[in-house]
């Protein structure tokens, strides 16, 4: 009997500190959890509720004062012809930006992983472009692309490539192309850096083995580099997708979405709805749709990176 109770006590003694440690764990997690709740979860929930209501600025925070309108904000968004245009623009923008950023980035990365005089410094210089604030580089490109006095037209004319000025950003046929061009320029250094890091992480022995087997340069790239780079490439692509799909600042500065929605993307349309037209509900609805896409992409990213770690 006596032994039994002492046994129980012994177990309790063993358990108690463990429990306390468990509680302490929660305490350490609490600030992070609170931060996430306040700045991530709450805004998302608020935005969902906003998209289901008829809201003015004065009733934005007071839910009791505005009427619940169900999905009618979403219905209005889908009926708006500008929404379809912006979705297509966003897809085109994302696709071409990524293809060129990755394609050119890969070519340059392979070039710069070779050692030649100045390779390191030149690699570093690429990052300078990336550190310039988008407001600055965007405004500079606005001037470069100007129709009458822009440097790009001047260059093309001097080289004899064009005879009439192209109004890059004020022509609806070239506005989106121009923004994509600027974005490729902007995103290239970042992709280059990630790809160089990934390439340098590849084991050299495999290449040596391939050389002994008599593989050509292209074969080494196709059958050694690409398969080994796959996990890294996948996360670069998904990150790029997320980053490019939600573009706002660049488009807003270079073309403002114009002319005639020609270069409007989903986020600039939502901005205009909220801050120009005061259509809070519809703006929120658009951003929720954008959020769903980005959320799915993020989940995909988490899954791929986890698999990589395993």
């Amino acid at each position: 009997m006596v032994d039994k109770t002492s046994d129980v006590r012994a177990i309790d003694k063993k358990r108690e500190p463990r429990k306390r440690i468990a509680h302490l764990d929660y305490l350490f997690v609490a600030p992070a959890a609170l931060f996430l709740l306040l700045f991530m979860v709450y805004p998302v929930l608020f935005n969902i509720s906003l998209s289901l209501r008829d809201v003015t600025a004065a009733t934005l925070l007071d839910t009791s004062q505005n009427t619940f309108v169900g999905l009618s904000n979403y219905a209005k968004v889908f009926q708006n012809p500008a929404f379809a245009t912006t979705v297509i623009n966003t897809l085109v923008f994302t696709f071409f930006s990524l293809v060129f950023q990755l394609g050119l980035g890969m070519a340059l990365a392979i070039f710069y992983t070779r050692s030649f005089p100045g390779a390191r410094y030149m690699r570093g210089l690429y990052l300078v472009a990336w550190t310039i604030p988008i407001v600055v580089s965007g405004s500079v490109f606005r001037w470069l692309l100007e129709g009458d006095a822009g440097v790009i037209n001047y260059l093309l004319r001097t080289l004899g490539l064009i005879h009439q000025s192209i109004f890059w950003i004020s022509n609806p046929n070239t506005a989106l192309v121009s923004v994509i061009f600027v974005n490729i320029w902007l995103g290239l250094p970042f992709n280059l850096t990630l790809l160089i890091a990934a390439l340098q992480g590849l084991p050299q022995e495999v290449y040596e083995a391939a050389s002994i087997d008599g593989a050509s340069g292209w074969q080494k790239y196709r059958f050694v580099t690409l398969p080994m780079l796959r996990p890294a490439l996948l996360s670069i692509v998904v990150l790029g997708l997320i980053y490019t799909f939600k573009v706002f600042d660049l488009v807003f500065i270079v073309t403002g979405g114009g002319p005639l929605n020609a270069s409007d993307v989903v986020s600039t349309l939502a901005y205009k709805m909220v801050f120009r037209d005061f259509l809070f509900g519809q703006g929120a609805a658009i951003l929720n749709l954008l959020f769903v896409v980005l959320f799915v992409l993020s989940l995909f990213y988490i899954r791929t990176t986890q698999r990589e770690e395993v």
Binding site: Y42, P43, A57, A58, T59, G147, P259, V274, G283, L287
Partner: protein
Amino acid sequence: MNVNLSRVVGKMLAITVLGLSVGLAQGKVTLQFWDYYSDNQNFQKVLEDLIQTYQKSNPNVEIKHTPFPFGDLKNKIIQGAATRTIADIVIVDNPDHQAMASQGAFADITDKIKGTDYPSLYFKGAFSSTIYKGKNYGVPFVSNATALYYNEDLLKAAGIAKPPTTWAELQSDAKKLTSGDRYGFCLSGVGTEEGTFTFLPFLWSTGSDLTSFGDAGSVKALEFWNTLVNQDRSVSKAMVGWSQGDVYQQFIAQKCAMMINGPWQLPNFKRDKVSFKWGVAPWPKDKESVSILGGENFAIGNTKNVNEAWKFLSWLLQPEHLKPLILANGSLPNRNDLAKDPTWTTDPITKVFLEQVAVAKPRAYGAKYPQISEQVWTAFQSVVLGKQSAAEAAKQAAAAIKPLLP
């Protein structure tokens, strides 16, 4: 949206801090004052001096004045209204006044206006822009109207004796003045309110209006722009991306010989040391002589300090305080007493603008005006960019505008 919400939370914290500091000051009322003339140092100084004078005679009041860049204040007001952190006194662009009043941003001061002579003192167009659904939500501050600036040297060189007064003259003069990389005429056709602001006088001059959009006059106005840009090529296609500021830059670089712009550019001519001879003429007309009313109004934020804010505003609106403020602002007075002041009537340039203010129409098209404006610039941009004929664009815009009118 997410970014804005974190701003909201930040602002809530700011209020708490502000509330605490106000409580500590014991009975002292702090009034917030927002304007969007952050780039006008002279205005900031004059306003600051006036505030100091007022605070001396009203020791229980402290006025905190914050200037913003032009483009930021509108967002700031809407955020302020949403989070109940709007300033007690706000300077607002007059076409936005009704839309912001409809959003609950401003206090209804109908009772306070009743005891004043403001309704008869102010010009009708300017005063009507402060009224929403029959209630008063503010008092006009300054007015302006656009007019035709011309480069006298270039006109002389082209053998043109005086600036154009009709559309026909405008068209032929612009053509004559176009040569090499210089255009005869430039104006803002950007896809924002600035573009619509430039287009509306063309529309009104034909006798048309937004309420009758789609009629022959509106098609004529759209067609006129099309002719200038695509047929005569006397206006650059880049105009669909030009703001008023861009147009001014083109004009002082002598890349164009005439431009439509407002009196707010006058101080810039001095700053930029423009060396050629230039002048200002009334709008060339089709049928009616008309300009567009721009300018700013004072509004009182929907806060608990409405009475104190009104007291300060009434003081500021006394002619001896208002005059230096308007002068520093560079715009024009819009009330019967100051409009007769020789300061403005003796200068040949401001005289033209004052005359334009007198025939200027306000943009009083109700709370959904921002969306109407979008339809207007969509119409003229489609025509200028060759996406639609003038008739098609007018018809499409008319259908979209109709349900948005009050």
